[in-house]
């Protein structure tokens, strides 16, 4: 006994739909170009403006060097090889910090979101710590963990922790009870519930948290690299400030923006991938 519907799709209509798909593909090229154009519009305008005001001396070069000069500085660092060292070590610290921060946030966040007792125990303290600025942690970290790599990674992880934690808790709290009940009806235990229903269902919020966390991780890099670093983008920034070289400051800002964008782009791709099942306006 089986129910099934006849497949009466006539040749004609199948044909039609094939044609339509082709048409869409053909339209694709200009659409792609248009997207790229739009995406580049603002950055290019901004750059042009910037180069303009510095070229024509509207802003003194020692305050705001022209983009070309900054590119030159970065280029020089690339040529003498120091660029890769700075970028590599910062990226390494960031990714480790991100990794650990995320793991701890997911564990504690799930616990807090799932159990009222855990919430009353941990949440108030975490919320209080959340407002402490990255710079304020520096002396405490020097005191507790010294100035080695672990200390730097931990500080970055701390930064990543907060937004991820917040979004994990918020996400889990807004998971539809109806879906959780399905899991319970199948006799899943607490852990399975988290893994099979709550995490996937709170994935949108979690991924937003990851992106937020990554951003905060980047912010904490500077503080982390005050813990006795002699390489890295944060070091570069502070160095630029200490030696008053706007070139170096802006080069480090540009590199921060660049790496930040690249890492965020990866997460954004992941987000689109992981959420293709969402029934929202875009999918």
């Amino acid at each position: 006994m089986a129910i099934s519907q006849g497949h009466h799709a006539e040749k004609e209509s199948v044909f039609k739909s094939v044609i339509k798909v082709k048409q869409k593909e053909r339209q694709g090229m200009p659409a792609f170009l248009k997207t790229a154009g739009l995406a580049l519009l603002f950055p290019i305008l901004l750059l042009a403006l910037w180069e303009g005001v510095t070229r024509f001396g509207l802003v003194a070069g020692h305050l705001l060097p022209a983009p070309s000069e900054i590119v030159g500085t970065i280029w020089a660092m690339g040529v003498d090889g120091s660029l890769w060292g700075h970028m590599g070590i910062t990226l390494y610290r960031l990714l480790w910090g991100f990794f650990w921060g995320t793991i701890v946030a997911v564990v504690i966040g799930s616990l807090v979101a799932m159990s009222r007792n855990a919430e009353t125990m941990f949440d108030p303290l975490i919320q209080a710590f959340r407002a402490i600025p990255s710079l304020a942690w520096v002396p405490l970290f020097i005191l507790w963990l010294g100035i080695g790599e672990p200390s730097k990674v931990t500080l970055i992880a701390l930064g990543v922790f907060f937004p991820v934690y917040l979004n994990v808790v918020g996400g889990i709290h807004s998971v539809d009870r109806k879906l959780i009940e399905v899991g319970k009806a199948y006799g899943l235990n607490q852990f399975q519930l988290v893994r099979r229903i709550i995490l996937p269902a709170s994935l949108p919020s979690f991924l937003t948290g990851l992106r937020s966390g990554l951003g905060l991780g980047w912010m904490f890099v500077v503080a982390a690299e005050l813990l006795g670093a002699s390489q890295g983008l944060g070091y570069l920034l502070v160095l630029g400030q200490n030696t008053l070289s706007p070139n170096v400051i802006l080069a480090s800002i540009v590199l921060f923006a660049f790496l930040g964008k690249v890492t965020d782009y990866a997460l954004k791709k992941l987000q689109t991938r992981a959420l293709h099942w969402q029934d929202n306006m875009k999918n």
């Binding site: 020097i142 200490n242 070289s245």
Partner: protein, 306 residues
């Protein structure tokens, strides 16, 4: 001096800092004098960058470094907060701070500052310098408007005219001199506190001979720097990534003559201490003299420098 049976007198690793504001430390690191002095001992060295005096002192307090370079006044403040440090050596007498205005400013003397905006970084040497200069001119902080910012921001504020004057610090100051023709309208070498090499008290008690050897290496570096000014500039340029002209100017204003902590340092710092106390940066129930007594310990250097 310096001789001892290997191993017993030195720890396995010694962590020293280096800082762009201490050319000697850069030379020391670059030329490997420490390795030279400790050649017959099995000691490893770690070099840690200090971004500023407070950074160095934090590292020292937390035990992250054994030797740290700081301004004398900063060391005094740290001592006032019970930091277990000793000053054992003076790496230079730098004239790293002065009062600066923009090109063509009508401010030519400290008196002209009355009612003007002056950028300064609270608690640091330039700030102490400013307060002492005001004091000397019979004025006080209340007669001007202090804009508390970080050193680099102060330089920028001066450059774009947001403040009328700035208590400057090298190399920012050297750079502003060269770039915007900033004028150092008030200079006074005596109001600069010295460049102090500090050691953790615990380390000094445990390894007094190692302290002497480090001082020995610093002496080698100091002499080398005096003899090779061009190479020293090169080292600064390479390490700190600043322009050669800025580095030259900075080095010019460093006096490497008297490395032995002594009365002139105590005098300078007790004057600074008073200013700090009256401005609330240092607990005024403490006795500056006692603090200095605790802080400055020339005995090690005396052993080495004869």
């Amino acid at each position: 001096s310096g001789e001892s049976d290997a191993g017993a007198s030195s720890p396995e690793t010694i962590t020293v800092d280096y800082a762009y504001y201490s050319p000697t430390s850069l030379v020391l690191k670059d030329q490997g004098f420490l390795e030279e002095v400790f050649a017959d001992e099995n000691v490893e060295f770690e070099y840690v960058l200090s971004q500023g005096s407070n950074n160095a002192l934090e590292f020292l307090s937390g035990g992250s470094v054994d030797f740290g370079s700081s301004a004398g006044a900063a060391a005094l403040m740290a001592k006032g907060n019970n930091a277990p440090i000793k000053n054992v050596y003076v790496y230079s007498q730098p004239e790293w701070t002065a009062l600066v205005t923009g090109e063509g400013s009508e401010i030519t003397s400290v008196e002209d500052l009355a009612g003007k905006k002056v950028a300064a970084t609270l608690g640091t040497d330039p700030y102490i310098f400013l307060v002492r200069a005001l004091d000397e001119a019979g004025m006080s902080e209340d007669d001007i408007e202090i804009v508390p910012v970080q050193h680099n921001d102060g330089a920028n504020l001066l450059a774009n005219g947001e403040v009328d004057a700035w208590a400057g610090l090298d190399p920012h100051m050297a750079r502003q001199e060269l770039e915007i023709n900033a004028e150092l309208f008030y200079r006074n070498t005596d109001f600069n506190t010295y460049g102090f090499l500090n050691v953790r008290e615990e380390f000094a008690e445990e390894y007094p001979e190692a302290v002497e050897k480090v001082i020995e290496a610093y002496e080698l570096a100091r002499e080398w720097a005096i003899e090779n000014p061009e190479e020293t500039v090169e080292i600064i340029v390479e390490e700190a990534g600043i322009d050669a002209s800025v580095a030259e100017l900075q080095l010019e204003r460093n006096n490497f003559d008297n490395p032995l902590p002594g009365q002139e340092h105590i005098d300078s710092l007790s004057a600074a201490g008073e200013v700090l106390q009256s401005s609330g940066n240092l607990d005024d129930t403490l006795s500056v003299d006692e603090l200095l007594d605790d802080l400055i310990d020339p005995s090690f250097a005396e052993e080495v420098i004869e």
